[in-house]
Amino acid sequence: MKSLLPLLIQLIISPIVSAAIDAYQFPNDELSVRYHKLIAELRCPQCLNTNIAGSDAMIAKGLRSETHRLLLDGKTDHEILDFMRDRYGDFILYNPRVTGGTAVLWFGPLLFVVIAMVILVSIVRRRRVLSKQEVDVEQLNALLGKRKGEQH
């Protein structure tokens, strides 16, 4: 089992590693790093759930070349993501901005946490009430009195 673990990890990360192979030249490593980060967080509009780094679709190729060009033009990461968003909408961002339309993505999970907390609290409260009622006060007193009597 232990020997399987590295293999499993390899399988999980391999789609990320086998990214695009177009040979784009960058004047420095910083641009190259930003390029790979950007193409990893842009979703391919043609294929469902693949980033443009990992897609062979024509449009993914085009968008990679566009990202390369914009980086060489000196655009910031934010400007490049804006450029893509203006043309392809929130869909293209794997890390979508908080807007009216994407609010449900951002805050939906929080809503479920709140619902779970409410349910949890209500269950705990009900149990507490039940356990209090179940104790027969008179019987308890009688027991306590008996004990007191025995001791003295």
Binding site: Q46, M58, I59, G62, L63, R87, Y88, G89
Partner: protein, 179 residues
């Protein structure tokens, strides 16, 4: 017989889940993306014409209500929609402009010679830059551009008779009536 109401909760949750999943089946094509470019001006460009050395710009597209069709010879659906586009250009009085997308011009001219060319002119977009500015993610795509050069409608996929009757024609009629 009294039924413990809390026993019904899993059933209710299950039914709600089924309804939610059933809703998923009624959604449109998962490939469908809402267009960001509706009601935005047609992008600026400067590209060559398919047949001449002339440079085509945004000015060539605006003036009349125009159907801008993004097509390519490698695109099978472009061949499927070709007869309908030909009919529209001939009988519906709509100007048709082609954007030859990620293609080779010689192949494109050949294709048009074989299948006929109903377009007013073609913009050569060999590196797909104009297509990206239009938010195109596959061919064919068809845009309705109004007299002011504003994109008013976008259709993804082949233009069939049904698409023309149900969406493109009403949109164009509305724009033509000055809306």
């Amino acid at each position: 017989m009294t039924l413990n109401k809390s026993l019904l909760i899993p059933l209710v949750v299950f039914i709600l889940l089924i309804l939610l999943l059933a809703l998923g089946f009624t959604l449109k094509d998962p490939h469908f993306l809402p267009s960001e470019l509706i009601d935005k001006p047609f992008p600026e460009f400067s590209l060559s014409d398919l047949y001449s050395a002339k440079t085509r710009t945004r000015e060539d597209v605006i003036g009349d209500i125009v159907l801008v069709n993004v097509w390519a010879t490698w695109c099978p659906n472009c061949l499927i929609e070709h007869p309908e586009l030909t009919r529209i250009a001939a009988h519906e009085g709509v100007t048709l402009v082609g954007v030859n997308y990620n293609d080779e011009s010689a192949k494109a001219r050949n294709w048009l010679r074989r299948h006929g060319d109903p377009y007013s002119f073609h913009i050569v977009d060999n590196d797909g830059r104009l297509a990206i500015d239009l938010g195109v993610y596959g061919a064919p795509e068809t845009f309705v551009v109004d007299q002011q050069g504003v994109i008013r409608y976008r259709h993804v996929g082949p233009v069939t008779r049904d698409v023309w009757q149900r969406t493109l024609a009403p949109v164009i009629d509305l724009l033509g009536s000055g809306a």
